[in-house]
């Protein structure tokens, strides 16, 4: 088995132990991107000379020589970000972004820029100036968005880890759709400098990897501090009633319930129902705030001269948002306050709150609809209802692979109190132990796997 097929932390350990050569691994990574990327369109730019320069200059960091890709959301010293779009409303230029510096200082080697949904505006990943990325488990399905390329790249095992960004679930949706572990950090903890949306109160950078150990390694680099490993003993797991947990595809709901029971048993913990007043409003509030934060950079004249290459949905929606009443946005902020207090109260009684990362597995690229007990709906209408809360109030969250439905991965989301990022990874590792790693180690067809494990 190639080292590229092993999880990120094992790649780092092999390099540190001298059991693998960084230059050989880099060349193998670039060859694998060349071989597999045509199917999934995950990586939109490679730059072998710059990657080799990073490797040559890599310090003795915890990721020395480890190849990674980064979402098209931050500048690199040799490339301006494009945000998956033909045009942004703010100027961009090459430069040393926070995530670039964090990766460089950890010794990592950036081998490519990863695709993303145009302007980061959807949970599907089916629109981009580079063309859509594809799900490595089924090329006709969405990889998830907006971190579509990072997820498709790791899910194809072109790299062991990728840096994504999460503004309304944009790491966790693609992690769930592609069978990966994806961490949305506590707001403000991970490197964000250089992001074009400078005043965001929602977006964070974060890792997508096969497993929790990879997220701990890459996350620690992005945080600039070690995320310590613990045991999650006696974990108090909260669950909720209502559409977030119940209006899901039946196999998604049952796989998540099984994983919650397994997590309880593995940690010697407890499961209890929690009441979160106002929870049903959190997704709407997150969408309202998240889609309005960039409007300060937009003017009617900019809209009227917008590139014709911007997709028709984004062209229309950015205009529509200009009409959103201030009273609505003010109320979204009140919901945010209410939810922060509701969750602070809930986290006095539980350590994590668990529900499905998305209510159904990856939808078709051409028509991203899912069938739920409540009816057939577009995924962008339902995914934020469980994915928006963490961004809205700043808490960390992780999506963990816990099963398959029709050959496509299922993700369970765990959310914790502010600053409990390491505990979430401990809990994710407990699920991996309880399931004997059969979901995190499963290889997609593009990665050479035989399909979903039984």
């Amino acid at each position: 088995m190639s080292l590229l097929d092993r999880p990120l932390a094992e790649q780092a350990a092999a390099l540190a132990a001298g059991e693998a050569d960084g230059l050989e691994l880099l060349d193998e990574t670039l060859a694998r991107i060349e071989e597999r990327n045509e199917a999934v369109n995950a990586v939109v730019a490679t730059f072998p000379e710059h990657s080799r320069e990073m490797l040559d200059a890599a310090p003795e960091g915890p990721m020395r020589g480890v190849p990674v890709v980064i979402k098209d959301e931050w500048p690199l010293p040799w490339r301006a970000e494009r945000f998956g779009a033909a045009e942004l409303f703010t100027a961009t230029a090459p430069g040393e972004s926070g995530p670039y510096r964090a990766l460089r200082d950890a010794g990592a080697v950036i081998v490519g820029v990863a695709n993303m949904h145009e302007w980061g505006s959807s949970s599907t990943g089916n629109a981009s100036v580079y063309g859509p990325a594809h799900n490595p488990w089924n090329l006709e399905r969405c990889p998830g968005g907006s971190s579509s390329g990072p997820a498709a790249a790791v899910g194809s095992r072109m790299v062991g880890g990728a840096v994504g960004a999460d503004g309304i679930g944009s790491i966790r949706y693609p992690a769930a759709y592609c069978g990966l572990t994806g961490l949305k950090p506590t707001f403000g903890r991970s490197a964000m400098q250089g992001h074009h949306m400078r005043g965001t109160t929602m977006i964070v950078s974060g890792p997508l990897c096969a497993d929790a150990a990879g997220c701990r390694l890459l996350g620690s680099a992005l945080y600039g501090e070690q995320l310590p490993r613990g045991e999650a003993s006696g974990l108090r797991i909260g669950i909720v009633r209502g559409p977030i947990a119940e209006d899901c595809a039946p196999l998604v709901a049952s796989a998540c319930e099984d994983a919650i029971e397994a997590l309880r048993d593995e940690t010697g913990g407890t499961v209890q129902e929690v009441e979160i007043p106002g929870l049903e409003l959190s997704g709407l509030a997150a969408v309202l705030i998240g889609t309005s934060e960039g409007l300060g950079d937009i003017s009617p004249s900019k809209l009227n001269s917008m590139s014709k290459e911007i997709g028709p949905i984004n062209r229309a929606l950015v205009k529509y948002r200009m009409l959103m009443p201030g009273s609505v946005l003010a109320r979204a902020e009140v919901i945010r306050t209410m939810m922060r207090r509701s969750l602070a109260t809930a986290f006095a009684d539980v350590d994590v709150i668990a529900w499905p990362s998305v209510p159904a597995v990856a939808p078709p690229l051409e028509e991203p609809l899912v069938e739920l007990p409540s009816g057939t709906v577009t995924v962008d209408a339902v995914n934020p209802r469980g994915g928006g809360l963490a961004n809205l109030i700043g808490i960390p969250a992780v999506s963990v692979p816990v099963g398959f439905d029709g050959g496509l991965p299922i993700g369970l989301q765990l959310q914790g109190a502010w600053g409990s990022d390491a505990l979430l990874l401990d809990a994710a590792e407990a699920i991996e132990r309880a399931t004997e790693r059969r979901f995190v180690d499963a290889l997609s067809p593009v990665a050479g796997g035989a399909g979903a494990p039984t």
């Binding site: 809209l303 229309a316 922060r340």
Partner: protein
């Protein structure tokens, strides 16, 4: 936008009043979105949040201060 959710004439007139150009494709996408989201937005406008104390100088990296 009116609480009734009427797309016409408010959205085209609103865009025109801001000097924002639009075409039939824009209007079709906006109308579909409006029909999907506006009922929830209008419902939000009817909720009474008067009991929610504001969080001054909120720091989203931390839990809120107790009231």
């Amino acid at each position: 936008m009116p609480a009734s959710g009427d797309f016409e004439p408010f959205v085209p007139a609103g865009l025109a009043s801001l000097g924002i150009e639009f075409d039939e494709v824009d209007l079709a996408v906006m109308q579909a979105t409006h029909e999907l989201y506006w009922p929830a937005v209008a419902g939000l406008l009817e909720l009474d949040f008067s009991a929610v104390e504001p969080e001054l100088a909120a720091d989203f990296s931390r839990a809120p201060e107790p009231n």
